[in-house]
């Protein structure tokens, strides 16, 4: 980022703040995860391992919580909303699964604290992590309320990919060495390939043309990924998308702290929304008969 560019970015940012919306954004990637559909099967997580060169750390390091799971499925046993905590004798309504990948916050708390600007916001609305710039101060991870940033505590290369497992490594993104922070990128390498392809064919990127590895594999299609720019920038030539449809239907909006809904009961929320991080992932409430 040169000085000139720094100034450009800054003025773009100021404009967005003063006038609202996302000016000069190329895309605004967003996601919707339907917890009514999520069965907690873990396919997304393994797909992420396969797509993003995630290191397998082994039992000892896993025990020390040094694992790398960009997409993790959280499993809770209590259900505060149903008023049935851990009172009953059995786990009557099953488990509560919550797939958590980087929320790609628009007001990301990780970004301002990085001393070397290795994490920043891209014109795609993504919360980027530049691995080769990272010096490993780990402040970003400490300041992430979702705890979705993972640190390379070791150099995993040799242990995780003994020959010939290393042949599987995706050449479209780096293998991170020790001392580097990493996190979900919304499969930036897939975005890049799709954008290049659209550009090559002189057309706009269509919705559903590509998707992230987790959304792609999700057996119940609980994860929907797409471009939300059209929702915020009427001048945008980007097409509308399924994600926009879902966000609008569930009356969830970016840039607000508390969602205004016609009926406050309508499903759709963002995790820890009140912290003002403005995440780009909307969750649709889990549903249970009681």
């Amino acid at each position: 980022m040169s000085l000139q560019n720094l100034l450009q970015d800054w003025s773009r940012y100021r404009r967005g703040r003063e006038e609202g919306g996302f000016h000069n954004y190329e895309h605004m990637w967003g996601m919707s995860i339907d917890l009514n559909l999520c069965i907690g099967c873990n396919a997304c997580s393994v797909a992420c391992y396969a797509e993003n060169n995630l290191a397998v750390v082994g039992k000892d390091k896993y025990e020390k919580h040094q694992a790398m799971h960009w997409m993790r499925i959280e499993r809770y046993w209590d259900e505060p909303d149903l008023g049935e905590g851990r009172v009953s004798e059995y786990q009557q309504h099953g488990a509560s699964f919550l797939p958590m990948n980087c929320q790609q916050c628009n007001a990301a708390t990780c970004e301002p604290v990085c001393p070397v600007a290795a994490t920043y916001h891209t014109p795609d609305g993504l919360n980027a992590q530049v691995y080769n710039r990272c010096i490993g101060s780990r402040y970003c991870s400490n300041n992430c309320p979702y705890r979705l940033r993972y640190f390379n505590f070791y150099s995993y290369y040799e242990d995780s990919w003994p020959e010939p497992l290393n042949l599987q490594l995706n050449p479209d993104l780096s293998v991170r060495d020790k001392g580097v922070m990493e996190k979900c990128t919304f499969c930036i390498q897939r975005i890049r390939v799709a954008k290049d392809k659209a550009q090559r064919e002189h057309r706009v990127l269509q919705d559903g043309e590509f998707t992230t590895a987790c959304a792609q594999t999700c057996p119940t299609s609980a994860i929907v990924f797409g471009d939300m720019l059209k929702m915020y920038d009427p001048n945008s030539t980007n097409p509308s998308s399924k994600v926009i449809e879902l966000w609008e239907k569930h009356q969830v909006e970016l840039g607000v702290t508390e969602q205004e809904k016609h009926n406050p009961k309508i499903r759709g929320y963002r995790v820890l929304e009140h912290l003002n991080t403005d995440p780009c992932i909307m969750f649709l409430d889990r549903v249970r008969e009681v």
Partner: protein, 222 residues
């Protein structure tokens, strides 16, 4: 003051309190940053940001990047004479490096392509004999890489060619070697290709600035 500012932002639970911790932080901070940046710009501005323009008449709308480098000589299985092909015989670079316009890598021509001509042309030359040997063994010659970028860099030939050649008004495709020379030097004057440009981040950055290339980190880093 800044601390309290941030604090209140973080606690601002009503939607009236605009945006977020980080944006509020920047509203005060970025002014300071801008000031700093402007000062720094004045100090260092002359070098790099306003790169001197030494235009190449054969490539319109482009400022060729500056920088020199003297790479090591790479020993190739066959000393491929680029000058005979590209300079004497005026073969377009993209005839052999056919993937350059379609992919991130320019690609080494398939051995079959070499044999397309050399099964009849200059078959008595020692280099061609060596090539024929490989062909008959059904093995491509083990070429060595001359130009490389670090593994965390995402470089695509295709996009650069589109910017400077195909989508560049007034640019003639025959002159593509001038564009290639931006980063590879005058290969058509060389026998075996030799690295003459630094191909480091400063080199890329200065060119991107001079030619309005993207400056988003994730455009080039993966």
């Amino acid at each position: 003051m800044l601390a309290t500012h941030l604090y209140s932002a973080g606690r601002a639970l009503d939607r009236g309190a605009s945006c977020s911790a980080s944006s509020l932080l920047s509203s005060t901070m970025s002014r300071a940053v801008a000031l700093l940046v402007v000062c720094a710009l004045l100090v260092f501005g002359s070098s790099g940001v306003f790169a001197a323009s030494n235009k190449n008449p054969l490539v319109p709308n482009a400022v060729p990047p500056e920088g020199t480098y003297d790479g090591e000589d790479v020993k190739q299985p066959i000393e491929f004479p680029h000058y005979i092909h590209a300079d004497v015989n005026k073969i377009n670079c993209m005839y052999c490096h056919t993937y350059a316009r379609r992919s991130k890598v320019a690609g080494i021509p398939p051995t079959g392509k070499c044999m397309g001509c050399h099964s009849v042309i200059a078959t008595d030359k020692p280099r061609i004999k060596k090539l024929t040997e490989y062909w008959e063994k059904h093995e491509p010659p083990p070429w060595k890489k001359v130009h490389d970028v670090p593994d965390f860099v995402h470089f695509t030939h295709e996009k650069h060619l589109r910017r400077f050649v195909f989508d560049n008004k007034g640019m003639k495709v025959e002159n593509v070697s001038e564009v290639c020379a931006f980063c590879h030097g005058e290969v058509k004057k060389m026998t075996v290709a030799h690295k003459v440009k630094p191909l480091n981040m400063g080199f890329c950055r200065r060119c991107h600035e001079a030619n309005n290339g993207p400056h988003d980190c994730w455009k080039c880093h993966k």
